[in-house]
Symmetry: none
Subunit: 144 residues, 4 copies
């Protein structure tokens, strides 16, 4: 054991912008203007775009999803108690973390060899649409 | 009656660190890296550790659970209306207290002769795992 | 250029606890009970101790200083305009960042080869005392 | 008079990204990695980039400056009482607006024929450096 561990990867702005650009292409393809946020492993914003026509109310939700996925090391979505979705646990975590966790889908982790390096969050559509756009972003992420 | 009451016990940092250390040992035994917080009777943080690999999103939840157990003088968990868990009451209390109460299990009181002197909160696993680690902390608490 | 950069160091809990322990020793030596917080490079709490007698009001200040030093990549203290301390800039940054920056001394960066891996924040004494205790923590940090 | 007024210009994402790109070029030229935010006339984020090496603590400041310039219809900077900079007024406005105003320079309005359509905010350097990078962004803004 030691005071530091070594050889951790970090997401670059170039990486974040590639992820963002791919998500945007997918949103255009679906004709769904979206808010798209990409953050690093500390949940800090790296790149963001609000497409023309995407509602401003979703800006914070998109950033929130990216942030939550990154610092929870897990795609966003409802919390479960066993197999069942638990409303109590899902909202309890959102409230208790002062909104640093969210039960809403559309936030995906970016990882390299099992280590979280950031997240992408998408908002303005349905949860399925948001997730589909986020997935296109993740797919463009080159871990090499 | 008098203006003051006397002879109250207070949790020391040494006590808090012993509780924290025992909880950590249990978490290691379970191979579950955890966020572990110990607070005094006012809900104020005394000792904290985030084990390597425990997700940052659970820091606030662990502190939150310890705080809530201490100032609610009760282990954390869902609020009930009669025998039934009430989602409305549980989340209403969490929201209304601005997250000073939580329906999520894993926060336990530390008490001496029925008097609350603090709390321990654990987060990063399931509620059962969190509670098991918190219990190991409480078990190490010497009230003498 | 690439989507990720490699070979970054991370502070471990063992490192954080060594820093915390050394700071505590110094506070004992000075007979000044302190709140001491150690965070990682994202400003997330890793280890914390409030020594017996340290005022609870300084818990948040200690965590705040550690957080601010880490995410600002700079020891905490007043902002300057040229050589002069600027009250306007110092407080403007604290307000504008919603308290993620602080002009109060006593928060020091932990770094490895010029890369920030975290911070230590100390509070309960004067700014000089807080800084002296924080420095003892930094001195115990082994970067190897 | 009528219930609506017509023919207002709105900043597009394409416009915001052109402004952002030009600011980035200037920051690279100055070897100063920056946080750069572009918002619309309601102060809502349109585009953002944190350049590699720019400190996370300045993310909120950059967004804050862009937001404040846009909704205050004025470049950011200290408030004056007569000719004199007033610390009290500057910070009073920042606090009273809950940080929707800022006395820190580096936030510039984007306008078309005297009508505000948004703002750019830059942070991580000195106020002069931030302003210089923001100016390069404004210069790239094509109002036609």
């Amino acid at each position: 054991m030691a005071h530091i561990s070594l050889n951790h990867p970090k997401l670059t702005l170039e990486g974040a912008e590639a992820v963002l650009a791919a998500a945007k292409v997918q949103a255009v393809r679906m004709s769904k203007p979206m808010n798209i946020a990409v953050v690093d492993d500390g949940g800090f914003l790296l790149a963001f775009a609000r497409m023309d026509g995407a509602k401003p109310a979703s800006i914070e939700i998109a950033i929130n999803k990216a942030h939550a996925a990154a610092i929870r090391r897990q795609n966003t979505g409802p919390a479960r108690s066993g197999e069942e979705v638990s409303v109590l646990l899902s909202l309890g975590l959102a409230i208790g973390s002062r909104a640093h966790q969210t039960p809403i889908r559309g936030g995906l982790m970016l990882e390299v060899n099992g280590e979280c390096v950031g997240g992408i969050g998408v908002s303005a559509g349905t949860e399925d649409e948001d997730t589909e756009v986020a997935r296109a972003g993740v797919a463009a992420f080159v871990k090499g």
